[in-house]
């Protein structure tokens, strides 16, 4: 190892199916790289400590807090941000449901809520239990209101739109 360690590196990020080449200081979080270097400002910085979920993105389809992973450590993943979930005129069903049910007020937490919900539905599909699942050894879970609330607890909404967020997700589950 060299005497003086390199503190920046060439970094390749795969975001929403596109490859990006950057040179970044290792201190750059994935969230800051997305927002400041790639101009993908849909992912939001709320607490910057993994406590609010506003920065939620998907790494290989799994939800994660972009504020707690350094960009240099995110290079092996296929990253999906809200910009890759849907767009005006081509909304994801969850995005449409959030509109239909008023699942937001100020909207700051919404990109994180949507990314989280998209991945959460895949977790349910895969049969993952949650902290409110009565029997973790049992088979598939029914995503009722209680399960929805527990599974979405990593996304805070300071406007308190929770009732409508739950309704929007329940609507998509059908």
């Amino acid at each position: 190892m060299p005497e003086r360690v390199a503190t920046l590196s060439p970094i390749r990020l795969s975001v929403n199916g596109r490859e990006y080449q950057l040179e970044l200081d290792h201190r750059t979080t994935l969230l800051d790289a997305l927002r400041e270097n790639l101009d993908l400002t849909g992912s939001k910085k709320g607490c910057d400590h993994g406590q609010c979920g506003a920065c939620t993105v998907m790494l290989d389809g799994r939800r994660a807090n972009a504020c707690l992973i350094f960009a240099v450590a995110a290079q092996t993943h296929d990253i999906t941000t809200i910009e890759g979930v849907g767009a005006a005129g081509n909304l994801h069903p969850l995005q449409q449901a959030f509109i239909d049910h008023d699942g937001l007020q100020c909207g700051y937490c919404t990109p994180g809520q949507i990314c989280s919900a998209v991945a959460m539905l895949a977790e349910v599909e895969a049969g993952w239990p949650s902290a409110v699942t009565p029997d973790v050894a049992a088979g598939p879970v029914d995503l009722d209101e209680s399960e929805t609330r527990e599974r979405m607890s990593g996304n805070l909404c300071r406007c308190g739109a929770y009732v409508n967020i739950v309704a929007a997700i329940q609507d998509v589950v059908g």
Binding site: L68, A73, S116, G127, A137, R149
Partner: protein, 328 residues
């Protein structure tokens, strides 16, 4: 944040050579705690050695009927694994009771074991903390300690271990496999964590530069009748103020065997040996459960603002034991 180098070795031998070769190097798993501590200035590593490319992402059957979990296994994969859910349900429940869906997807088993206390003084570099800066003092005893230890603390430190997962591992007598400069070692979980005594900065018995490779869950057929219960200040996504992992083997109304571990009450996941001893061979009744809980908690040394933990944890133990009798 201080600048740092970054390496991502693919082989354990490279990872061990790197950590030994650079002062201030630290292993990086999911980063959910370490990255946050770096933002807070509590951790200032010179180099991060990312261990997520090492071949430690697995859950496999051991020959003795137990399970072996790689240290790089993500918390969500551990909790979703059918063998864990069926054979050690309290472990799946404990992991699911911690953090959020996002954080569990990132956090690794090894990182969960080594996560640091959430004591507010430890996390605030403007305050003294004997754990963070030895001999700097501890404001918690007279200050904000409502969620700090009632068991196992010392004059120098009353920080609590924040892990839910480790409480279940303690109940199941897990064994932690590590690679150290001197070679590989198998560390029973009961010997893995250190009480603070006069060195609160030393939290485990690991040698510097140690790399956790796996955790073994010994075979325990009656662990299928186990449960994790957690009390916290909001319904979800919050650290425990008290928790319990219990496994119960009951036959003909008598306790044949029992495992009890407590969380959020001590600097380590607290195995309630006294309660277990008091219960073995006794009738599986609420009276016996209360006596067992009291046998453990009579050693508690609560402070001004954490006295509530004594009845809280007593009731968690009794209630969970009753539920496990009903489930038997």
């Amino acid at each position: 944040m201080k600048e740092f180098g970054y390496e991502r070795p693919a082989h354990p031998t490279d990872a061990l050579a790197m950590i030994a070769g650079v002062a201030g190097a630290r292993f990086l798993g999911g980063g959910t705690n370490l990255v946050d501590l770096m933002k807070l200035g509590v951790e200032t590593p010179a180099v991060l050695i990312d261990v997520t490319a090492l071949p430690y992402d697995f859950v496999t059957d051991d020959a003795d009927g137990g399970l072996r979990v790689g240290s790089g296994t993500r918390n969500s994969d551990l909790a979703a694994h059918l063998a864990v859910r069926r054979r050690y349900p309290a472990l799946a429940q404990a992991v699911l009771a911690g953090a959020s869906g996002q954080l569990r997807n990132m956090a690794t088993v090894g990182g969960n074991l080594l996560q640091r206390t959430r004591c507010p003084y430890f996390q605030d570099v403007t305050k003294p903390c004997n754990k963070r800066v030895p001999d700097s003092g501890c404001p918690a005893r007279d200050g904000e300690h409502h969620n700090l230890a009632i068991l196992g603390g010392s004059d120098l430190c009353i920080a609590t271990n924040p892990s839910d997962m480790a409480v279940a591992l303690a109940a199941f007598d897990a064994v932690v496999f590590v690679e150290e400069p001197a070679g590989p070692r198998a560390v029973p979980i009961a010997d893995f964590y250190r009480l603070p005594a006069d060195e609160p900065q030393r939290e485990t018995t690991l040698e510097p530069g140690a790399l956790i490779t796996a955790v073994a869950l010994p075979a325990l057929p009656w662990a299928a009748n186990s449960r994790y219960r957690k009390a916290r200040e909001r319904a979800s996504y919050s650290f425990a103020i008290g928790s319990v992992a219990v496994a119960l083997d009951v036959a003909d109304g008598m306790v044949r065997d029992v495992r009890i571990a407590l969380g959020a009450v001590a600097p380590i996941p607290w195995r309630a040996y006294r309660a277990e001893q008091s219960l073995r061979g006794q009738p599986a009744t609420e009276v016996a459960f209360r006596e067992a809980a009291d046998a453990e908690l009579e050693w508690a040394q609560p402070l001004r603002d954490n006295r509530y933990k004594v009845p809280l944890v007593r009731n968690l133990m009794v209630r969970t034991l009753i539920e496990l009798v009903q489930a038997s």
